[in-house]
């Protein structure tokens, strides 16, 4: 390409592109296209090939991640004038997204096949959304963040309404869509104000400009407020959470797992980059905002979860509560340099562990619903008598979510407490106390499900063993393995959180 010869035109400089650093995205985009085309070519009885290819493609996109991690140490690739950065942070989170995507494909294989829904398009949409998340982990620019957010959200709207003739699924899609686009629009309005004040869309330049005293302009305050509110919808923080339980209940269960883990993590990743690279100097704005969001989110999430009778709604409110714990480190990030570092580690470690345990819990819900055809917590009674393996694994996930010591979830909470202790202010300690109180409240409803499974008799004395299809069993096994591995050897995950620092 050459520059146009007209007098006012700027000369064209080809941007620096490192194809090795972009390899995960390139592999994923190729797989997305191949899956879409292959779905047209194979006949109805062999659609499972498309799903298998999608799974293989996701695994293939993890290979360049490993080679990048091995090559790189502390080096990072910055492309397109700092708008797209591949560094340790993005590698760790891309790995998390790809893991999540693979588990969701495993979980949905039989669900979608047996439900008489469109299989090929399902994989296509999951992969597109996954591509958006992988891009999000590298996006250090307002435009790139916006494009990545839409790429991960738009397929998710369609996935929520996958059961076309089911009114609940329709309703889930409509609610998710309307609140999603409203949140995006509000966030964009905030971005336009930030762009107007700084004259640039690259986060590192925005950070440099608003760090000084000039950055305390009200327009920056309003801009940050709108952007954080927009993403608060995405991560279902209270008071912007009301869509989440309805959408989670109405959407097909594998999609619910995808939304509650991957889509939420996508929102958190964007917040990470915006706060730690862009707005870090304006702790006076985002500190109190996140404090209120975190305190409300974990308290309301856990209290409302107590009185749920449907397991998916309970997990929805539990995941709202978990989002509150992940928001705590954001609220204390700006107090001092030590707290900034440990709060980043805390949030990243929490996201990694949350993904494994929450996906695992949803995999159990899918496995049990194959037999009981019901989402009531009461339908879990006597699970131990006919599915002892599932019961043990579900108990591990539930107690890990509750944060009981030898399991991964405890370790995640420990890191949140460490961030609070490093901040050391009175407000931070109040938040720490709230986390502790909420962990106790949460134990009640998690233990309630465990009691149903272990203590109560099976309904109708039906004790035929429960058959779990191999892909679902593999997903369960992977999640259980990660949750246990973190409990036994937490240093490995702490290291991932430590190297993934965004602060220079």
């Amino acid at each position: 390409m050459t520059a146009a010869a007209s007098p006012g035109a700027l000369p064209f400089h080809a941007p620096y592109i490192d194809y090795h650093a972009l390899a995960p995205e390139i592999v994923l985009s190729t797989v997305v296209v191949v899956v879409l085309v292959l779905d047209l070519l194979v006949d109805e009885t062999r659609k499972y090939l498309v799903t298998q290819l999608a799974g293989l493609g996701v695994v293939a996109s993890a290979v360049p991640l490993l080679s990048l991690a091995a090559r790189h140490g502390t080096h990072s690739w910055s492309m397109f004038g700092g708008a797209y950065v591949v560094d340790n942070f993005s590698l760790v989170l891309k790995a998390l997204f790809i893991f999540t995507g693979y588990i969701v494909l495993l979980m949905s294989t039989n669900y979608i096949e047996e439900g008489d829904y469109y299989e090929g398009e399902f994989s296509f949409l999951v992969l597109s959304s996954l591509l958006g998340m992988v891009v999000m982990a590298s996006a250090r620019d307002l435009i790139t963040i916006f494009v990545a957010l839409e790429l991960l959200s738009i397929p998710a709207y369609m996935l929520a309404g996958w059961r076309k003739r089911d009114l609940r699924s329709n309703e889930a899609a409509l609610k998710y869509y309307l609140l999603g686009v409203l949140a995006t629009a509000v966030m964009l309005y905030g971005m336009s104000l930030i762009f107007g004040f700084t004259g640039t869309t690259v986060l590192s330049q925005i950070g440099a400009q608003i760090a000084g005293s000039a950055g305390s302009h009200p327009i920056v305050t309003v801009g940050i407020f709108f952007i954080v509110v927009g993403f608060a919808f995405k991560v279902s923080a209270v008071p912007f959470h009301f869509w989440a339980p309805d959408v989670y209940e109405g959407a097909p269960t594998p999609v619910t797992a995808f939304l509650s883990v991957a889509s939420k993590t996508g929102g958190f990743v964007a917040l990470f980059q915006l706060i730690f690279v862009g707005f870090y100097g304006r702790y006076d704005v985002y500190g109190p905002l996140f404090w209120v969001l975190a305190a409300l989110t974990m308290t309301v999430g856990n209290l409302v979860a107590l009185r749920q009778t449907n397991i998916v709604r309970m997990l929805a409110y539990s995941s709202i509560g978990q989002a509150g714990y992940i928001l705590v480190p954001f609220a204390v990030a700006g107090t001092n340099a030590r707290a900034a570092h440990s709060s980043q580690t805390a949030s990243i470690v929490y996201l990694l562990i949350y993904a494994a345990m929450n996906l695992g819990a949803f995999a159990i819900v899918i496995a049990v619903a194959r037999r009981t055809r019901s989402g009531d917590i009461a339908s879990y009674s006597g699970l131990f008598t006919y599915a002892p393996g599932l019961t043990v694994v579900m108990t591990i996930f539930l107690f890990s979510l509750a944060g009981v010591p030898p399991l991964g979830g405890w370790f995640a909470k420990f890191y949140v407490f460490r961030a609070v202790a490093d901040a050391g202010t009175a407000w931070a300690w109040v938040l720490g106390v709230l986390v502790a109180v909420n962990s106790v409240i949460a134990l009640f409803y998690y233990a309630g499900v465990a009691r149903q499974m272990w203590m109560n008799p099976a309904p109708d004395g039906d004790r035929r063993p429960l058959r779990v299809p191999p892909p679902l069993a593999a997903a369960l096994g992977l999640c259980a393995l990660v949750v246990m591995a973190i409990g036994v050897y937490p240093q490995a995950f702490a290291r991932m959180g430590d190297v993934a620092s965004l602060l220079r």
Partner: protein
């Protein structure tokens, strides 16, 4: 140059759009209200871009326009789905799940 006038128009459109999303009961009108917010964003971006003398504002606005089109496509499909199953696009009727 005139900056405040454009920003005022943008803010006005933004408020109208948010009001429309919250108050309207008809699915298609809610979608139109979301479009109003996005156009408020576009006006802001282009006004700021001209004010700061940078092309980035217009580029951002182009991305917003293109992606908003894709978004509305999905939105209309979902509203159509609701209409096929219920013969109505009144959003107050869509309340099977509560609590």
């Amino acid at each position: 140059m005139l900056l405040n006038e454009f920003l005022f128009l943008g803010a006005l459109l933004f408020c109208t759009g948010v009001y429309g999303v919250l108050a309207r009961k008809n699915g298609v009108l809610v979608l139109m209200s979301v479009e109003l917010i996005l156009n408020a964003v576009n006006i802001n971006l282009i006004a700021f871009g001209a004010f700061r003398d940078t092309i980035a504002g217009q580029v951002f606005a182009l991305f917003v326009i293109a992606i908003a089109a894709a978004e509305v496509g999905v939105g209309l499909a979902i509203v159509l789905l609701i209409y096929r199953n219920r013969r109505s696009i009144d959003l107050t009727d869509v309340d099977l799940m509560k609590g």
